[in-house]
Subunit: 421 residues, 2 copies
């Protein structure tokens, strides 16, 4: 079913208002298996509105118009729909009684501009507004069901739930149920993912839509199918994908990387500590951003200067002098020091060059060493992440968290992150 959206308002075009209504209606339409077809946004311009109504009704089965129902001169939706359909504006008795009720319950004295809200194209029927003064309305035009809704988000949401969705169900035979399987990954790029799937599954079935959504640092892979007859096909291919992507999968649906890590620690009854140089506390801040993190984290250290690495965590000055702050030996001593001070089960220590300055020929900006694991089983890795300071810190933080997750689960920690297929 083709449902298009037409939003109107100068404030939407000027960028002063960010439109949240269209994301809301799109999410609501998911429940009936529909994705909006075309969305168009125009200012308070009568000709443009008339043209847009004509154009969108010609290619859609439903047009939801949002905004322009208010009492002021720049509220043009009823007039534009009247011009497009050739149905003249008439004071509508249902709109009038709604407005009178609204005014009396709000102790509000109606004036002539308010009454304008009750002048609707005469072929339209009223759609109740459970909150505001302006009613919605709907009519058929070019065999397209046009539904006009208020721009105020709270009024719009209520009207969608209570009026628009039931209206759609009463006009259309909505039996389509869709099945959606989601999995969330860390450590692959979108193009790498596409590439590996293309290579492994040249026979990917056309009944299963494959979609990616990047929500850094995670990528969501979504398999959608329509009709119950495809449910088992969807599950079968989801299983094939799970086998292919393996360790990179951190969870289903809305799993965040931090959530995956904290859950893993919690299930294994492990407490982690952090010893951070170049990430400056970001790993600890991520872990503690999740509710319930006190079960898996007691505290950590930000040792930004060499002096602090020594005085707080006991990294020997010989090690610092001989190998430099960004070295395997230093992160090993940092991790050991953090475990000693906190009695945590395991540690993650990182030291690197976030840039933009501080690099050298043998240790360029983007170099980072990590040491992690239990007191008697510390492991190390070196990464090279040449990117902006912020991206470096975010990526280092995410990799560190994933390495702890992998270590606890006994998965490969020498994984090739962000490889190209």
């Amino acid at each position: 079913m083709k449902i298009s959206l037409l939003l109107t308002g100068n404030e939407l075009m000027s960028g002063d208002t960010v439109d949240s209504n269209s994301a809301y209606i799109a999410q609501s339409l998911k429940d009936i298996g529909v994705t909006p077809y075309i969305k168009k946004v125009v200012g308070d311009d009568l000709n443009l509105l008339v043209q847009s109504i004509e154009e969108l009704c010609a290619v859609s089965e439903v047009l939801i118009i949002n905004g322009g129902l208010g009492p002021t001169v720049d509220d043009l939706t009823a007039l534009a729909l009247s011009k497009a359909t050739g149905s003249p504006l008439r004071r509508h008795p249902d709109a009038m009684s709604h407005l009178e009720n609204w005014a009396s319950s709000h102790d509000f004295k109606l004036t002539e501009p308010n009454l304008k809200q009750t002048d609707l194209p005469e072929t339209c029927e009223v759609v109740d507004n459970p909150i505001g003064s302006a009613v919605g309305f709907h009519c058929l035009y070019k065999e397209c069901l046009v539904i006009c809704t208020p721009g105020v988000p709270s009024e719009f949401k209520k009207m969608v739930e209570q009026q628009v969705l039931p209206l759609l169900q009463s006009h259309f035979d909505i039996v389509v149920k869709s099945k959606v399987t989601r999995m969330r990954l860390f450590g692959m790029t979108e193009s790498g993912l596409q590439d590996i799937i293309n290579k492994q599954f040249p026979d990917w079935p056309k009944e299963i839509d494959l979609g990616f959504r990047v929500q850094l640092p995670v990528i969501e892979v979504k398999l959608s199918s329509y009709g119950e007859e495809n449910d088992s096909l969807n599950l079968r291919w989801a299983e094939k994908l799970r086998v292919l992507l393996g360790d990179f999968i951190i969870g289903d649906d809305n799993t965040r990387l931090t959530q995956a890590l904290n859950q893993t620690l919690l299930l294994n009854e492990l407490v982690v500590t952090t010893a951070e140089s170049c990430t400056g506390g970001a790993i600890a801040a991520e872990i503690t951003s999740e509710a319930g993190s006190s079960a898996v984290f007691n505290g950590g250290f930000v040792v930004y200067s060499n002096q602090m690495k020594s005085s707080i965590l006991g990294v020997s000055s010989e090690t610092l002098q001989e190998h430099g702050a960004v070295s395997e030996q230093v992160v090993l001593e940092m991790a050991a020091g953090a475990i000693r001070l906190t009695n945590a089960d395991m540690a993650m220590a990182v030291s690197g060059i976030a840039g933009p300055t501080g690099g050298a020929a043998n240790k360029p900006v983007g170099t980072v060493w990590m040491a992690w694991g239990r007191k008697n089983g510390l492991k190390t890795r070196k990464f090279f992440l040449p990117m902006s300071r912020r991206a470096f810190q975010k990526t280092t933080t995410a990799i560190a968290m994933d390495l702890i997750r992998r270590d606890v689960l006994g998965l490969d920690t020498q994984v090739d992150y962000f490889r190209n297929a």
Copy 2:
């Protein structure tokens, strides 16, 4: 000038992603006195894209297309523009060399899907992408200047600033010169700000447009005027606003709160340390997110459990038992302990209840104590910030940074944050 926007991406239609790019370009176009004419959003549908390009180019002087430049099969912008204009896709040498440079500087091995990003309609010229792998491109079609831009917000913003606006200025006789004065504030709400300005300046001149842009935790206030004859009026009213808003102003133009703090510390040759409980390292992570932070920060502590507060920072167990972890006494001892261990000039210590659980009748979720200042002059404040865990952590972090800034500058630290006028 009629500038239209065409955004593409299934994630925009499904409501999974809220589009912030069109608000950004609209705000940027204000500086050249233009409001976008039509905005259209469609999914990754080739026919719909081709039709939309034809339709919008017929009624616009400029069409900015956003999204669909990536390496995957659902990235269709170049192909759609090729079909609309009849200009065949060719591997573009400038796009190729950009991609090769990008790959080599990112230590990234190019594969066939990546190379697709270099196949552009042959009448197009490349628009540089200062950050990402996908170049933009532009060409003329139906006398309309078509500019294709990446959907990734950080890449889009940089391209708008550095490439799109100059391109528009080189193609059109944009004589409208505008004067824009910006100031950035922390600690006021948008409605509080609007209210105080309305009250204080009922005579605000119509020649000066006043705009607000919320970029949490900061609000930007922008005074725009058109025509050189209004330049001095703009400056005069900016000065009046500066006097009115006083301490809340942290800087001009793009100043971030962290930048304002670090600059203040640097100019005063002060080093700060952090002792964090409920913010879990976020204050340290913020400070170190700025390049050059090693001049003002050597290290800090995340003491999430009571045990860590005692064993690492030396908070006495009597104090913890008597007053609880979220108390004035505990944050004072945390701050003192952090200064003792690091020899920093000053400290910021925070302890609070981030929630969603852990509150009590006398200390509900959202309660937070802070202690800050120099060894012999520690100050304290209690705040109540009842909001989601993440919002609480972000707001607490921002207030802590602003309090250090204010303290160093000798400004009021008993300020009424987020008051309503």
